[in-house]
C-alpha cells in the first residue's frame, strides 16, 4: 500500500512541478504571438489598410491566450481571459496596447507599433531565458520532492 501511495505522490509532485514550469512556456508563447501579431499589424496597416478585426480573424489561433483576449476585446469584452502567467505591469501594458491600436492616423499607429516592437523583443528574450532557467528547475524540484516522499513512504 505504501508503495502505491509513494508512487502516487511522486507522480503528483512531478505534475505540480511541471504545471508551475508550464507558466514559463505560456509566457514565452504569449510574447511570441504578441510579437508576431505586432509585426503582422504593422505590415497590414502599411500595405493593405485592412481593419484590425479582419487582421485578427485572418490570424486567429484557437486556444491561444494572446488571441483569445484580443478577440474578446474587439468583440465588446465578452469574456475575461485570465492570463495568470503575466504580472500586473504586463497585463496593464497589454490592456493599453488593446485600447491604443487602431485609434489614430497611420503615422501615429506605426510609431506606436514600432516602439511596442522593441518592448516585445525585450520581453520575449526575457521570457526565453526565464523559461530555460526555471522550466527544468521546477520539473526537477517536483521530481526530487516526489522521490523523497516515495523514499519516506517506502
Amino acid at each position: 500500500m505504501n508503495y502505491v501511495i509513494g508512487i502516487l505522490l511522486l507522480v503528483i509532485s512531478i505534475y505540480i512541478g511541471y504545471s508551475i514550469a508550464k507558466k514559463y512556456d505560456k509566457k514565452l508563447n504569449f510574447y511570441y504571438q504578441f510579437n508576431n501579431f505586432n509585426n503582422i499589424l504593422k505590415n497590414e496597416m502599411l500595405f493593405s489598410q485592412k481593419t484590425i478585426k479582419k487582421i485578427i480573424l485572418e490570424n486567429y489561433l484557437e486556444n491561444d491566450y494572446f488571441y483569445k483576449k484580443l478577440m474578446n476585446y474587439f468583440n465588446d469584452n465578452l469574456v475575461n481571459v485570465d492570463c495568470k502567467f503575466l504580472d500586473k505591469e504586463e497585463i496593464l501594458f497589454y490592456d493599453t496596447y488593446l485600447s491604443t491600436i487602431g485609434q489614430g492616423d497611420l503615422t501615429a499607429q506605426i510609431g506606436y507599433i514600432e516602439k511596442t516592437a522593441n518592448y516585445l523583443a525585450e520581453k520575449y528574450n526575457q521570457s526565453l531565458s526565464e523559461q530555460k532557467k526555471y522550466k527544468s528547475l521546477y520539473t526537477k524540484i517536483g521530481f526530487l520532492i516526489g522521490l523523497m516522499l516515495l523514499i519516506i513512504f517506502l
Binding site: M45, Q49, K50, T51, I52, K53, K54, F74, I101, G102, Q103, G104, D105, L106, T107, Q109
Partner: protein, 288 residues
C-alpha cells in the same frame, strides 16, 4: 436599413420606432439624441421616439466612441482619409458627418479626434422621384443637368433615381463619382462607380479610362469641382450633378459658378418634402 453600428443604448430606442421614417439622427456630446422623424424634430428615448427632451437618451462619449469603433472596426487608420474630410459612410450609404478636434500638421489636417458630434443621415429610396425631370430634360437625348436645393431636400435621392432610369432605359455608359459612398449599392449593367475619390481626379482618370457618356456626381462646391465639370463638358461628356443653393440668385452669386456648362437647372421644393421639383430652368434661366 442596417443600424448595427449603434450601441445597444441607441438601437433599443430605434427598434421601437418606425425606422423608415427616420431621415436624420443627431448625436451631440452630453445632449439629448435628436431625430428628424418624418420631417419632425423629436427625441429618442429608450421606448422609441418622444417629444420631450427630458425623456431622451443622453449622448455620452462612450456612445460616440462605440459608434466610431463599430463603423471603423476599431481601425481609424483605415478610414482616416474619410474622417479627415469629416465623414464616414456605411455599406448601405448611410453618411455619418463628424465634428470634433481637428489635428493639423503644417497646413494639412491629419485627423479628427475627440469627436463630439455625429450627424447620421439615412438615405431613402424614392423610386421614380425623378420622372418629371427625366421626361422634361434628358429622355430624348442626354443633356447637362444641375439639381439645386438646400441640404437634406433630396438631391442625392434624385441623382440615384436618374442613374437608375438611365441604366434601365438607355444604353449609355454611366460613370458615378461617389465621393462619399452615398450612392451605396447602386449598380447596373451600364453603371461604373468610382468611390471615395475627389472629383478632379475621378473626372480626369474616369473620363479617360471608362469612356462614359454621362457622369453623375453629387455636390459641386469648390472651384476645382466646377472646372472639372466644365472640362468634362468640353470633352463631350454629359454631366448630371447637384449643388447647394436655395434660389437662382444664390446659384449665380456662387464664387465658382460657371455659366454655359449646364443645359438645365432643376430647383427642388424646400417645403419639408423629399425629391419634389419646384421649377426647371433652361440654360438661359427661363422656366420650361
Amino acid at each position: 436599413m442596417n443600424f448595427n453600428f449603434f450601441p445597444l443604448e441607441i438601437s433599443n430606442g430605434l427598434n421601437k420606432s418606425y425606422t423608415d421614417k427616420i431621415y436624420e439622427i443627431r448625436l451631440r456630446l452630453n445632449q439629448p439624441v435628436i431625430l428628424n422623424y418624418d420631417n419632425k424634430r423629436v427625441y429618442l428615448s429608450n421606448n422609441g421616439i418622444t417629444l420631450f427632451a427630458n425623456d431622451s437618451i443622453i449622448c455620452t462619449k462612450d456612445i460616440i466612441d462605440k459608434i466610431i469603433n463599430n463603423l471603423t472596426e476599431y481601425s481609424i487608420y483605415a478610414f482616416n482619409d474619410r474622417i479627415k474630410q469629416g465623414f464616414l459612410t456605411t455599406e448601405e450609404g448611410i453618411r455619418i458627418g463628424i465634428a470634433g478636434e481637428t489635428v493639423y500638421d503644417k497646413n494639412s489636417i491629419i485627423t479628427i479626434k475627440n469627436i463630439t458630434s455625429l450627424n447620421i443621415r439615412i438615405p431613402h429610396e424614392i423610386i421614380n422621384c425623378s420622372s418629371e425631370i427625366y421626361n422634361k430634360t434628358i429622355k430624348n437625348s442626354l443633356k447637362n443637368l444641375l439639381i439645386i436645393s438646400s441640404p437634406g431636400v433630396g438631391k442625392t435621392t434624385i441623382l440615384k433615381d436618374i442613374a437608375r432610369k438611365l441604366n434601365n432605359n438607355t444604353t449609355n455608359s454611366i460613370l458615378l463619382i461617389d465621393e462619399r459612398g452615398e450612392f451605396s449599392a447602386l449598380s447596373g449593367q451600364n453603371i461604373d462607380v468610382i468611390k471615395y475619390c475627389n472629383k478632379y481626379y475621378a473626372f480626369s482618370y474616369g473620363i479617360r479610362t471608362m469612356s462614359p457618356d454621362v457622369v453623375i456626381m453629387d455636390e459641386l462646391s469648390t472651384e476645382e469641382d466646377w472646372k472639372s465639370a466644365q472640362l468634362a463638358c468640353n470633352s463631350g461628356v454629359n454631366i448630371i450633378a447637384s449643388c447647394h443653393a436655395k434660389e437662382l440668385n444664390d446659384l449665380l452669386n456662387k464664387e465658382f459658378f460657371i455659366k454655359n456648362v449646364f443645359d438645365y437647372y432643376v430647383f427642388l421644393l424646400d417645403d419639408g418634402s423629399k425629391g419634389k421639383v419646384n421649377k426647371i430652368l433652361n440654360k438661359d434661366f427661363i422656366d420650361i
